[in-house]
């Protein structure tokens, strides 16, 4: 090969190389362009004086502007002026900045929180030709952060609320404890296994014991302690439900015991036992009863003396009296009789209250007793021109356990009222009926009746109907109270129906099988 040829070949080689290099370069440029376009990070190339020279599609996307709208524009228009200025200066000085936080389109609606990354670009002479500005979209992270913050606040609120409710519950608990401790009633709390879980100071005082000794003990255990035995006996092994049951610990030391089951959503959670000290009330009650009893007895002596004196005057035992004198003495005698009746009523009431009332009830014929009572009213009935009708069952009514005197008194009170409050010419009906279970006696009248609003109180001690008061000034208001107690002492029941102006029917029943 000639030298020339060799030279030619050499040149050809050079050209080939250059063309290959040019190809390589073009492909590299393409590669870079593709990479630049592909990058999901918004990137912008900025000149040293801050003019945007090139932007990638991601940058178009985040800014919402096309590249022709941005290229040639100062980068400041997109960011906070002083911040981007600082970034530029720092980049040119140090070569790069990393993660500076700022906003794209600050103050505008479409603003985006971002982080900024930069790096300078130099030419072959190491002169700075500009810098790359990469943006990292922070909005997702911000959103997450905000949500986290909100969650944190919410959590804090919940915590605070919980603490508040805990504090409130604690306060409530303290207050309840305080109330229980300062209650004047004794309280015992039993859990569902009937074990003592609380005893307030008042209960400790009533029994002279300490709560700590008895916590966790059951009612059965209580039987072993002399202080608590009477209470245990009252409560019963099975903790029956009690309402104000009397428990006499000593003479003049009386408690009322009530048990209240504690239910939570239909489940038994245990029992609350309330101990109410009624000693004082009982003493006062007894004193009152004694007082009435003694004064009534004391009153009977002078009343008898007056009665007998008047009677002897009227009978002429103390000499002749004039017609005028007789009239006055007659009236005085009647007044005195009323007083005696009132005193007897009071004594009956005190006996009812002292609980010693019925005297040895014996089996006897109720109808016969009632017929006898009615016949004693005949003169009065005739005088008042009242029509009295009486009926009893055709077959004999079984004998009942009766305190004849008391039953007579009860019936007398009903019949007395029927006659007294029925106008002249009115009707009074006495009817006895009997079934397999009980005997029922009804005393009906066509009298003044009892006003609806007063019916509830009709059996109350000393109560008198307003219309009855207008009609009859006498009357102690004790008759029906006594009658009701007598019938109930015979295991019976008393009820009535009444209409003002139409009349009243009182009825009482006595069961054929009495537990007396």
């Amino acid at each position: 090969m000639s030298e020339e040829e060799e030279e030619k070949e050499e040149i050809g080689e050079e050209e080939k190389k250059a063309s290959l290099l040019a190809d390589d370069l073009a492909s590299l440029e393409n590669y870079i362009h593709d990479l630049f376009s592909f990058s999901p990070l918004p990137i912008c190339f900025v000149s040293p004086i801050g003019v945007m020279l090139e932007i990638n599609p991601a940058f178009e996307k985040i800014s919402g502007l096309k590249s022709y709208e941005l290229i040639g524009e100062p980068v400041e228009i997109l960011f906070e002026k002083n911040k981007i200025k600082k970034v530029s200066e720092e980049t040119l000085e140090k070569g790069e900045v990393e993660g500076v936080e700022m906003e794209l389109f600050p103050g505008k609606e479409n603003n985006v929180p971002i982080q900024v990354f930069t790096r300078v670009r130099r030419d072959e002479k190491e002169d700075i030709v500009g810098y790359f500005l990469g943006l990292f979209n922070m909005s997702k992270i911000r959103e997450t952060q905000n949500e986290l913050k909100k969650s944190q606040v919410a959590l804090m609120n919940i915590l605070e609320d919980t603490e508040d409710s805990w504090r409130a519950a604690e306060e409530e608990k303290k207050r309840t404890e305080e109330i229980i401790a300062s209650l004047s009633d004794g309280l015992l709390l039993f859990d569902k296994e009937n074990r003592l879980s609380l005893m307030n100071p008042q209960a400790e005082k009533l029994f002279g014991i300490e709560e700590s000794e008895f916590i966790g003990k059951s009612v059965l255990d209580f039987f072993q302690y002399s202080e608590l035995r009477p209470l245990a006996a009252t409560l019963g092994r099975k903790m029956e439900r009690l309402f104000r049951k009397e428990l006499k610990l000593e003479e003049d030391f009386i408690l009322e015991v009530s048990t209240i089951p504690l239910m939570l959503k239909g489940k038994n959670m245990g029992y609350l036992v309330v101990l109410h000290d009624v000693s004082r009330e009982k003493i006062v009650e007894r004193m009152k009863t004694e007082f009435v009893s003694i004064s009534a007895h004391q009153l009977r002596t002078p009343l008898s003396a007056i009665k007998w004196t008047l009677k002897m005057l009227l009978d002429g035992d103390l000499g002749e009296i004039t017609k005028d004198q007789r009239e006055f003495i007659d009236k005085t005698y009647v007044s005195n009789e009323r007083m005696i009746t009132l005193i007897n009523d009071l004594l009956n009431v005190t006996r009812i209250e002292e609980g010693r009332y019925l005297y040895k009830p014996v089996l006897q014929d109720l109808c016969k007793l009632i017929r006898g009572m009615i016949s004693s009213y005949e003169p009065e009935i005739k005088k008042r021109k009242i029509v009295l009708s009486y009926s009893e069952p055709e077959t004999k009514v079984p004998n009942l356990k009766l305190d004849a005197e008391k039953i007579s008194l009860a019936f007398q009170n009903f019949l007395d009222n029927a006659i007294k409050y029925t106008p002249e010419g009115g009707k009074v009906t006495v009817k006895i009926v009997c079934d397999k279970k009980e005997v029922v006696v009804s005393i009906g009248d066509s009298g003044i009746g009892i006003a609806q609003d007063q019916q509830e109180r009709i059996f109350t001690k000393f109560f008198r109907g307003v219309n009855a008061l207008k009609r009859e000034t006498e009357g102690s208001g004790l008759g029906l109270f006594i009658a009701k107690n007598i019938i109930e002492a015979h295991d019976g029941k008393v009820w009535f129906q009444s209409k003002t102006g139409k009349g009243t029917t009182f009825s009482f029943s006595i069961p054929l099988i009495q537990n007396i």
Binding site: R300, A305, K307, W308, D317, Y359, D403
Partner: protein, 123 residues
């Protein structure tokens, strides 16, 4: 000869009234103001009937009856109780101790006392 009644009673007005009434009916009435006095008088007097109050100072009616029951002579004398009260318990106790009859002052009157005396001993 008039029949003898011993009235054992502490209430002065009742004594006066009953004495008047019974004397008027032709009886011979002797008074004792309490149980003790009553028992003493009874032994001397040997009355046909005793009218006896229950509540009295010194010795009450029930104690008088107990004493009378112990004494064979006195236990024969009929007793009529004249009392302020008339509770069934008291009535049955009096009956046990031998009382023949019972009067409650507020419920009876002097004529009825006479009637009961007549019933026991006649005129």
């Amino acid at each position: 000869m008039a029949k003898k009644i011993l009235l054992i009673e502490d209430e002065k007005i009742m004594i006066n009234l009953l004495r008047k009434k019974l004397t008027g009916e032709g009886y011979d009435v002797t008074i004792a103001r309490n149980g003790e006095e009553g028992l003493e008088t009874m032994r001397e007097l040997n009355p046909d009937v005793v009218l006896l109050d229950i509540i009295m100072p010194k010795m009450g009616g029930f104690e008088v009856m107990q004493e009378m029951k112990k004494d064979p002579e006195l236990s024969k004398i009929p007793i009529i109780i004249v009392s302020n009260s008339g509770q069934p318990v008291e009535l049955s106790k009096a009956k046990e101790l031998g009382a023949r009859d019972w009067l409650i002052k507020t419920e009876f009157d002097p004529q009825e006392v006479v009637d009961k005396v007549v019933k026991q001993i006649g005129r």
